[in-house]
């Protein structure tokens, strides 16, 4: 099938206002329709492109739906073990301090099995950018409860809804990380509307700048959807996210640099 286009006459190079980042490969994302992972990838690629860092970037993607990030982002990438991306990135950055290093982690990855690695990398103030996709579920393995799953929320391992008494509280890792002296910039964003996309992109740009200045860990949570895991259409899932996730995980900056 070929592309479908709007009004042909307008489609000229000089009129271009938005195109897919050249830091993305041509591979079709393996994500489900409407999944925020795709959007997050896209803008991350845009930020790298705009900062001219394609040749300077080393990404780390642990297991999770985004384990195949290396298929989609046209930069050097290491696939890491579940939960260990911050440790992996620590070594990369220390050995190649001139490079731009990021991790891209899910909530199961970052806030369950990877809790220690997350806290200690942030506490050491490693000069890396951590992107934390919080979709309240284990997407890749088929929708199990994550540390961030909301109270009462159903998943394949909380089929009757998360019961705080038995399964514990949804964990606000970003709030914890913000208390650590090693983090420099901690924010919580989303990518489900154009306005939010813009904010997230801006946050990433800041993180890039701060990393250049050796400021310490920049931590960007993106509250995101998982239409498959939540068993909703993409549009429904975004609505549900606004109504249920945002009240518990409010968007905004948690830690910003003091004006210098």
């Amino acid at each position: 099938m070929k592309d479908v286009t709007g009004i042909k006459e307008i489609i000229k190079p000089e009129n271009l206002v938005y195109k897919r980042s050249s830091v993305l490969t041509d591979n079709v994302f393996s994500y489900c329709p409407g999944c925020g992972h795709g959007t997050a990838h896209r803008i991350l690629a845009e930020v790298i492109e705009e900062a001219g860092l394609q040749s300077e970037t080393i990404g780390v993607a642990p297991v999770g739906c985004s384990v195949l990030l290396y298929e989609f982002m046209n930069v050097d990438v290491q696939q890491a073990a579940h939960g260990r991306a911050p440790a992996v990135a620590t070594a990369i950055k220390r050995l190649l301090p001139e490079k731009f290093v990021f991790t891209y982690q899910g909530d199961g990855d970052l806030a369950a099995i990877g809790t220690a690695e997350t806290i200690h990398a942030c506490n050491r103030g490693e000069n890396i950018m951590i992107i934390f996709i919080n979709n309240g579920i284990y997407g890749m393995t088929g929708g199990q409860m994550a540390p961030t799953t909301l109270e009462g929320m159903k998943s394949s391992t909380s089929p009757y809804g998360r019961d705080i008494k038995l399964m514990g509280n949804p964990l606000k890792m970003t709030e914890i990380v913000a208390t650590l002296p090693g983090t420099y910039f901690v924010t919580r964003q989303s990518v489900h509307t154009p306005a939010n996309v813009k904010k997230t992109k801006k946050a990433m740009k800041k993180a890039v700048e701060y990393q250049k200045l050796n400021k310490g860990t920049c931590f960007i949570e993106i509250v995101s959807n998982c239409p498959s895991g939540w068993k909703m259409s993409p549009v429904e899932s975004n609505k549900w996210m606004e109504e249920n996730m945002f009240p518990f995980y409010p968007l905004g900056d948690l830690k910003v640099p003091a004006v210098e």
């Binding site: 394609q54 260990r84 440790a87 620590t90 070594a91 990369i92 050995l95 190649l96 220690a116 690695e117």
Partner: protein, 357 residues
């Protein structure tokens, strides 16, 4: 010059100093007896100031091995060290490193297990090191030093082999060799390498495709091809890299097979037994993987019996048995729990299990 390079050192210290001199780029570790001196020595020596070598105390062994993964994937000479329980925690990471074909050095200064066990020296992690303690079909190249000198020498050898085959290398030592002080001749300091490997993640210039470090391939047929390539590499290693030492094997009727600390004990046992007129020799595998099966098979033609001497319940003895496939009687003598056998005990066991048996 010479004077500067002769030192009296603990095995653990020798590893650390040799790593600096070999131009290592990074060490990532976590304290555990009996090997904490490696990290301590490095922190004291502070090579970051001189060679730029990164030394980091990680939050755990799991973090440490994954730091090694990250550094190795950048084509850097990186290493970690631990002792038995810590090495068990590293198994997932080791399997990842083997699967992603990354070069690195892992030192296990073995103590007696299972569980928390004790901190005394042991060789009870042979299977874990040689057969693969992690999941999947993979091999580490395993070097077994028997002296402080070899603790130093095998660091550079280990890195060389690791990069030659893009494979993790393990130095399988034990608490005795780690804690013991001996003379050691140290090589002059090498500069850290500036080579940028074409497979490493160092930032993708326009001139090449992106580099991907992964052990994942969801398609089983692609995964099988990857595994076949790994196996082909292991066959190469088996062909090229067997290392061993022999002691009075020429005219031997009997053979002791032992590595590391028990090889030291066994060498004395050979002297004692020879003094009694028993024609016994010693084969010391230096590489536990690849195991010197070929030479053992060859020797088995002249032998009346073999005793595998290990500080374990009997692990390497299986590789000895596999090497000689029933051609000569093979037995095992070992002490466990951190007890080091004495040369006298080895001789007694040889008489009882092999000569008398």
């Amino acid at each position: 010059m010479m004077e500067r390079e002769l030192r009296l050192m603990k095995g653990n210290e020798a590893v650390a100093e040799a790593a600096i001199r070999a131009g290592a780029d990074g060490y990532f570790g976590y304290p555990i007896t009996p090997q904490s001196e490696i990290l301590e020595y490095l922190m004291e020596a502070n090579p970051y100031k001189t060679t730029g070598m990164v030394v980091l105390q990680a939050e755990s062994e799991v973090a440490a091995i994954n730091m090694v993964y990250g550094g190795a994937a950048c084509g850097k000479k990186v290493m970690t060290s631990s002792s038995s329980p810590g090495i068990s925690l590293k198994q997932e990471g080791i399997s990842y490193i083997a699967g992603a074909e990354l070069p690195c050095l892992i030192v296990n200064v073995v103590r007696a297990g299972p569980g928390l066990g004790t901190i005394q020296p042991s060789q009870c992690d042979y299977f874990q090191a040689v057969k693969g303690g992690g999941h999947g079909d993979y091999h580490l190249i395993v070097l077994a030093p028997a002296s402080v000198q070899e603790m130093a020498d095998f660091v550079e050898l280990g890195f060389d082999l690791a990069f030659k085959y893009r494979n993790p290398v393990m130095i399988l030592s034990d608490g005795a060799i780690g804690q013991m002080m001996e003379k050691v001749y140290l090589k002059p300091k090498k500069n850290r390498s500036t080579v940028i490997y074409d497979w490493a993640t160092t930032g993708k210039p326009a001139s090449r495709e992106r580099n991907i470090i992964t052990s994942l391939d969801l398609d089983p047929y692609a995964q099988e091809i990857h595994n076949q390539n790994l196996q082909a590499k292991y066959r190469e290693v088996e062909k090229n890299e067997v290392r061993l030492e022999e002691f009075q094997t020429d005219d031997a009727d009997y053979l002791l097979v032992a590595y590391g600390t028990s090889a030291r004990v066994s060498q004395k046992a050979v002297q004692l037994a020879r003094a009694e007129g028993i024609k016994v020799g010693l084969l010391r595998p230096i590489t536990l993987y690849p195991f010197p099966s070929g030479r053992l098979k060859e020797l088995s033609r002249q032998l009346k019996g073999i005793l595998s001497v290990e500080m374990s319940a009997g692990q390497m003895v299986e590789d000895v048995l596999l090497s000689v496939s029933g051609k000569v009687p093979v037995s095992h003598f070992g002490r466990m729990g951190g007890v080091i056998p004495t040369p006298e005990e080895v001789v007694d066991s040889l008489k009882l299990k092999i000569i008398g048996g």
